[in-house]
């Protein structure tokens, strides 16, 4: 077994006296999706924010291809190939669709993905390329946010609640897309979701957090089959 693309070891994050992430260990292989599940306040978003450098870890490691990410600035972690799509999608509403997309690839210069690639992947965005991003629908914003992250050709994609506020049919589309991105581009996807059922339907592995700690980690199918776990933490 080769070393996982993204390896998180005993990661701990404190907000003052509050321990948001408590010794989390997980791994995401190239071309696979790992879902991080749990209720509100379980530490899912804090985990992603710590990996991408937005929060400072108190202890532990986050390794990309064996190299430590912790301690690097947010801008440098992106440059290592870790793209973070934030909760609420982080689309900059005052910029146009195309400006948002271009922004994602600017640091890569000529090595960035061409805009046309994103328009092929997300046809609705092409029609709205010159419109202010604030005029997009929720699903379009999610596409824009993911497309913008892909512009830099990342190795790891951190997705925070991509299903939030979307209609079930759109959620299904987005989940399918995430699955195919991992498979076709060899991306290592760490998918944070409250919508455990949809997330597990496309994930290879699942990690369940409660109060910042891992309470279960297994193959996605095994988690779905574990009825007591589902009732206790996943709510379905």
């Amino acid at each position: 077994m080769t070393a996982a693309t993204l390896q998180v070891e005993s990661l701990t994050t404190d907000y003052g006296p509050v321990r948001a992430v408590d010794g989390v260990t997980l791994a995401v292989e190239e071309g696979s999706v790992t879902a991080v599940l749990g209720a509100n306040g379980a530490g899912k978003t804090s985990l992603l924010r710590t990996i991408s450098g937005l929060e400072r870890a108190s202890a532990g490691h986050a390794l990309l291809g064996g190299e430590e990410l912790l301690g690097l600035g947010v801008e440098d972690i992106v440059r290592r190939g870790v793209a973070h799509v934030p909760e609420g999608r982080g689309v900059i509403g005052e910029l146009t669709t195309e400006e948002n997309l271009r922004l994602g690839g600017l640091w890569q210069g000529a090595a960035a993905a061409p805009l046309s690639e994103m328009y092929t992947l997300f046809p609705p965005l092409q029609e709205r390329r010159a419109q202010q991003a604030s005029s997009l629908s929720g699903g379009e914003r999610q596409m824009l946010s993911i497309g913008r992250a892909l512009m830099a050709r990342p190795r790891v994609l951190l997705l925070d609640e991509p299903s939030l506020g979307l209609a079930p049919i759109v959620v299904a589309q987005i989940m399918k897309l995430i699955r195919s991105l991992a498979a076709e581009r060899g991306l290592a996807v760490l998918l944070v979701e409250q919508n455990a059922r949809s997330a597990l339907s496309i994930a290879d592995r699942g990690v369940v957090l409660n109060l910042g700690s891992v309470v279960a980690a297994d193959d996605a199918r095994a988690l779905v089959a574990d009825e007591s776990l589902r009732h206790a933490y996943l709510g379905f």
């Binding site: 600035g73 992106v78 982080g90 900059i92 005052e94 910029l95 271009r102 922004l103 600017l106 830099a152």
Partner: protein, 292 residues
């Protein structure tokens, strides 16, 4: 009628200077959400530098270029050393730091260059153009003032609109955290925003110095007028700053010409209060809600 034309022309050239100061304030507001009350002090220092260079070298243009360059450096320096510490904090902290810097710069300039205002040469002749036997209140130097401000405003608009750097600066200003997650070095963008603002400010200082003279406190009214112009146009909008500057220049020119120059400052404050009461976002506001 000639009087009206004269006042209009004069309003346009002074308005261009207010527009430049307003642009400097807008650039910093957009980048870091700080109203730079030290702007008047910063452009005073760069104009003093120009005055010294012109005095010792005899070349106006050398002084001009040195002043603009020192504006860039001063802006970047102020952001890196002082403003960095208050960015993202309560707005009042930044205001106090800016006011403190203003006092520091004015006192320092007084110690170095003296408190007596000195004359400052114009770039071109200030003798008005002669049209059909009458001399207009508009000179080659006024033409230069208007053109150079238009050029700078257009250059900035092109920078923000068409370049990758401009896109990064806008993203850093609009959503700093998201911009960082996309690899934009936000701190550098803020530094650059301050440098550009101080550059435009130093230009305004050079343009207005021949008529107000150079002294530690000579540029205080210019800051008030520039701020009024920026609020009039909408603090977020560079085109608004230019239009606001021109409108204010015209209004103040008419007030000064028809009612007396002692009412100019009062008129500017009336405009400021009126805008804040009727359309607090300014003429060119795009957002509905605004922190003040």
């Amino acid at each position: 009628m000639t009087r009206f034309i004269d006042l209009t022309l004069n309003g346009i050239s002074t308005g261009a200077v207010y527009a430049a100061v307003a642009l400097a304030l807008v650039l910093i507001w957009r980048a870091t959400r700080i109203v730079n009350f030290a702007q008047g002090g910063m452009l005073m220092v760069t104009t003093f530098i120009a005055s010294s260079v012109i005095g010792s070298s005899g070349s106006y243009w050398l002084g001009f270029v040195v002043a603009l360059a020192s504006g860039l450096v001063l802006g970047a320096l102020v952001e890196l050393t002082l403003i960095r510490r208050v960015e993202g904090g309560p707005p009042l902290n930044a205001v106090i730091v800016a006011l403190g810097l203003l006092i520091l710069l004015e006192a320092g300039a007084g110690m170095i260059w003296g408190n007596t205002p000195k004359s400052f040469p114009p770039a071109f002749s200030i003798r008005g153009y002669e049209v059909g036997g009458t001399r207009l209140l508009f000179s080659p130097n006024d033409t230069f003032t208007v053109l150079v401000v238009i050029a700078v405003a257009a250059g900035l608009a092109a920078l923000f609109r068409y370049t990758a750097l401009g896109l990064k600066m806008r993203a850093a200003a609009l959503a700093p955290e998201v911009a960082r997650m996309l690899g934009v070095r936000v701190g550098r963008m803020f530094t650059l925003g301050w440098a550009l603002a101080a550059f435009v400010g130093s230009l305004a200082g050079l343009l207005v110095a021949p008529s107000v003279f150079v002294g530690p406190n000579q540029f205080d009214p210019i800051l008030v007028f520039g701020f009024t112009a920026a609020v009039l146009g909408g603090l977020d909008s560079p085109p608004g700053a230019v239009v606001g500057g021109l409108i204010l220049g015209l209004v103040l020119s008419y007030v000064s010409g028809y009612e007396g120059s002692s009412l100019v400052t009062l008129a500017a404050l009336v405009v400021l209060v009126a805008v804040l009461m009727i359309r607090p976002g300014g003429l060119f506001s795009t957002s509905k809600e605004r922190r003040v």
